[in-house]
């Protein structure tokens, strides 16, 4: 039974890393949003499983918050933003899919090495959770770095935050207040970014952030 408990936690957290890779692989905005919603569903499953293992009912609340906000509200509103901006074309990636994947692999390997060294005495369950959470976080950062389109950068930011929630759920004794405030601050960040997107578009007629560099007089 102990083995199965660990295996399911490993399965869910590992799937979260896999879905992060699937997000890096997408080159269309709508499919990117679908994968992002799936990412949030896997996250909430993983958090719910942690709640079951740790016997911590407040983690169920976290799972439900993740499910409602990240799997439904944010993808739907990003969908509407994309439709209103009229940018459902292909994403321009700065580097190709292959090098991005390799860089992602390197980041996962790095986070595993770092976490396994740093948490040598910890409980194996918390250990694997933290290692995967760091991978998801770094992959979200990689997503923000490799994409030019502001909307996909927002998605990268949100997936990074999913990694934070996974880490918080793995560490025992996280109070609910902190989680709720994190969830709301992400929502507010999302609103601010949404307004920014329209401002950027009004100013530059595009949401390609390369134009910002050109506007500042930087050379590429």
């Amino acid at each position: 039974m102990e083995g199965l408990v660990f295996d399911i936690a490993h399965l869910l957290a590992g799937s979260l890393v896999l879905v992060s890779f699937m997000m890096l692989y997408q080159d269309r905005l709508y499919s990117l949003l679908n994968v992002f919603a799936f990412h949030a569903v896997v996250l909430s499953l993983s958090v719910a499983w942690q709640a079951y293992i740790q016997d911590a009912p407040h983690l169920y609340v976290t799972a439900v918050i993740a499910l409602i906000f990240k799997a439904i509200i944010i993808p739907l509103s990003l969908h509407r933003i994309i439709a209103r901006l009229g940018i459902h074309r292909e994403i321009e990636t700065v580097v190709g899919v292959g090098p991005t994947m390799l860089a992602g692999m390197g980041l996962v390997a790095l986070s595993l090495v770092v976490m396994l060294r740093a948490t040598a005495e910890a409980d194996p369950l918390a250990r694997e959770d933290l290692a995967f959470a760091l991978s998801v976080l770094l992959l979200g950062l990689l997503m923000m770095v490799t994409r030019r389109n502001a909307v996909s950068q927002v998605v990268g930011f949100m997936s990074l935050e999913n990694g934070l929630i996974l880490a918080a759920a793995g560490a025992k004794g996280m109070p609910l207040v902190v989680e709720i405030s994190v969830a709301f601050s992400v929502l507010i960040a999302f609103i601010v970014i949404g307004i920014f997107l329209f401002r950027i578009r009004e100013r530059f007629d595009t949401v390609d952030v390369q134009t910002l560099d050109r506007f500042r007089g930087e050379k590429r």
Binding site: H10, G98, M101, L112
Partner: protein
């Protein structure tokens, strides 16, 4: 000494015959199901045997400037593929050769077969053969690392690259629920599709120069050479299906030293698995469009990525 080896030798001999005799039937079955799914009548199930026999009787036409390599290659490819197919446990795990060669040896055998096929494609000097060889090598350069990664996953989980040991381990509850194994399965399916020149990567039924990969390399062959090559291609398809069945659905495999009844049961289970696999392949092939050649690296890159990620994730699981 001899009497101890005899059952293993008998099973090994039976296995070699079974794979050789079943492989054209499997190819015929996949063709039939594909035709039925397209609402065509399709060729009879035994048609592939008849094709092979007729090709064997026909005269082999060899190009004027072909070297000895061109004539020797079909037999080399056939021998390597047959040996590799004989090493995968199909209905019983107590194979005699299985202890002398593991999964890595199987990959090496298939790799050398591909090497000779690519050489033969370029031997005559036609442009089609060259383009086929270059594409085949491009596909192989991604499929082989992905395959090696899958072997790493299996070896890390089961503690052996020996297929009999892996199959026996997969039947025990010690396997548990592992995300890495799921990734290995998907990666193996992708590699199998690419290696057997099936639809999203290559179309085995076409002679259209823009799309063909495998067919372009064997374009210059005829007669018995072509028959042997076609049989080797069928064997390769059977090999990959048996490999997937042996590692991921090992139920029904007769363990070493089991009685005759268990072996017959294992044989029935094997045929069932094979036809289920062939049916799924046909359904998959009819429901998907062929991708452009330059999209193939993306497809196989995903397979390689799955294999690599599965290996990495194993390092934080409970066994290591």
């Amino acid at each position: 000494m001899i009497s101890a080896l005899l059952p293993g030798l008998l099973i090994q001999g039976a296995q070699m015959l079974v794979v050789l005799l079943l492989s054209p039937l499997l190819t015929g079955f996949v063709r039939k199901v594909k035709a039925r799914l397209l609402r065509r009548q399709g060729p009879p199930l035994l048609q592939h045997y008849r094709d092979l026999l007729r090709l064997l009787r026909k005269e082999a036409v060899v190009a004027e400037n072909a070297s000895w390599l061109f004539r020797a290659t079909p037999y080399m490819i056939f021998a390597a593929t047959w040996v590799a197919a004989a090493l995968v446990p199909t209905f019983a795990t107590g194979l005699l050769f299985s202890w002398s060669a593991d999964l890595i040896a199987i990959i090496a055998l298939l790799g050398s077969a591909r090497f000779f096929l690519a050489l033969a494609g370029m031997d005559v000097g036609t442009s089609f053969g060259g383009i086929g060889s270059s594409r085949e090598v491009m596909i192989a350069s991604l499929a082989e690392p992905a395959m090696i990664m899958i072997v790493f996953i299996l070896a890390l989980i089961a503690g052996s690259t020996q297929l009999s040991t892996v199959a026996a381990f997969m039947q025990t509850p010690a396997v548990g629920l592992r995300v890495s194994l799921g990734m290995a399965l998907f990666a193996l399916l992708m590699v199998a599709i690419a290696e057997n020149a099936r639809i999203p990567v290559d179309n085995p039924a076409t002679h259209l120069e823009l799309t063909m990969v495998h067919e372009a390399m064997v374009l210059e062959y005829s007669g018995r050479h072509l028959a042997v090559l076609e049989l080797a291609a069928s064997l390769k398809l059977l090999l990959y299906l048996s490999l997937i069945a042996c590692v991921f659905v090992p139920w029904g495999l007769a363990p070493a030293g089991a009685g005759w009844a268990t072996h017959i049961l294992g044989g029935a289970a094997y045929v069932g698995k094979l036809f289920f696999g062939g049916f799924m392949l046909a359904v998959f092939e009819t429901s998907i469009a062929k991708m452009r050649v330059f999209r193939v690296p993306d497809f196989l890159g995903a397979g390689l990525m799955l294999g690599l990620l599965g290996t990495l994730l194993l390092f934080v699981s409970r066994s290591l």
